[in-house]
Symmetry: C2
Subunit: 141 residues, 2 copies
């Protein structure tokens, strides 16, 4: 649980940054789950489009700012699964982040058109972009 | 920490619903904090617009689905601050939720135009919509 950030933005503590980035990923994954369920069952293009918009807007919100100094390790009860390599390979991380944002924007555009088969492909691409980053930069536990 | 939802969407456990809704609120509050910092300091219309888009897209993502049966109380280590009244006053909650979505959409539109003074007013309106719900339906601790 994170309280409303009343201090200046620059003053976010490392543990707050970790909690906010986890919140962003977690909320994206809820929306990925909804899209998956729509692809496997009844397809509501309205629900899928809203879910894709949420993912794209979160992807474009500047989460990189939540990887500040001190956020590379657990802080008390706030645990992080980030690998130290993320902080050492800025160029590669930036590339993966751009591919992720492009895939999220693409899914949102495709979802607005409402064609299930096209959504399927764009959803798979986005899932690959998530996994590409996790494989290198997120620990398994 | 919530794992990627691999089960069908309808199968989300109550504790997962609680964690996802808290993630959504938490990520919105990070973005509210960024807008506040922009209003109090250097104003980047790009950062403000991206933050407002994230809030609006989360607001429109159908978070009501995360208040299913069993999510009205703590579940093991997963604590919730929702008040029981939220589940009893569907009409009032729906009204507050609509006002919140309208205020979030409005801020996103205003932010896209980039006028600081207009953003200030729309931001205050959205903050009031958040507080209106918390006052009635979120416990203090």
């Amino acid at each position: 649980a994170v309280a409303f950030a009343s201090a200046a933005f620059a003053d976010l503590k490392p543990e707050e940054q970790i909690e906010y980035r986890q919140a962003g990923y977690s909320f994206m994954s809820w929306n990925m789950g909804k899209i998956k369920a729509n692809l496997e069952g009844d397809f509501s293009s309205d629900q899928v489009s809203k879910a894709a918009n949420a993912i794209a807007a979160i992807a474009n919100s500047g989460m990189g700012a939540l990887y500040g100094p001190g956020t590379d390790q657990n802080i008390g009860e706030v645990k992080t699964r980030v690998k130290p390599e993320l902080f050492q390979n800025g160029e590669d991380v930036g590339q993966l982040a751009r591919e992720f944002m492009d895939a999220a924007d693409n899914l949102a555009e495709i979802a607005a058109e409402g064609e299930k088969s096209e959504v399927q492909a764009a959803f798979a691409d986005l899932g690959s972009a998530c996994k590409a980053c996790h494989k290198k930069y997120r620990a398994d536990n």
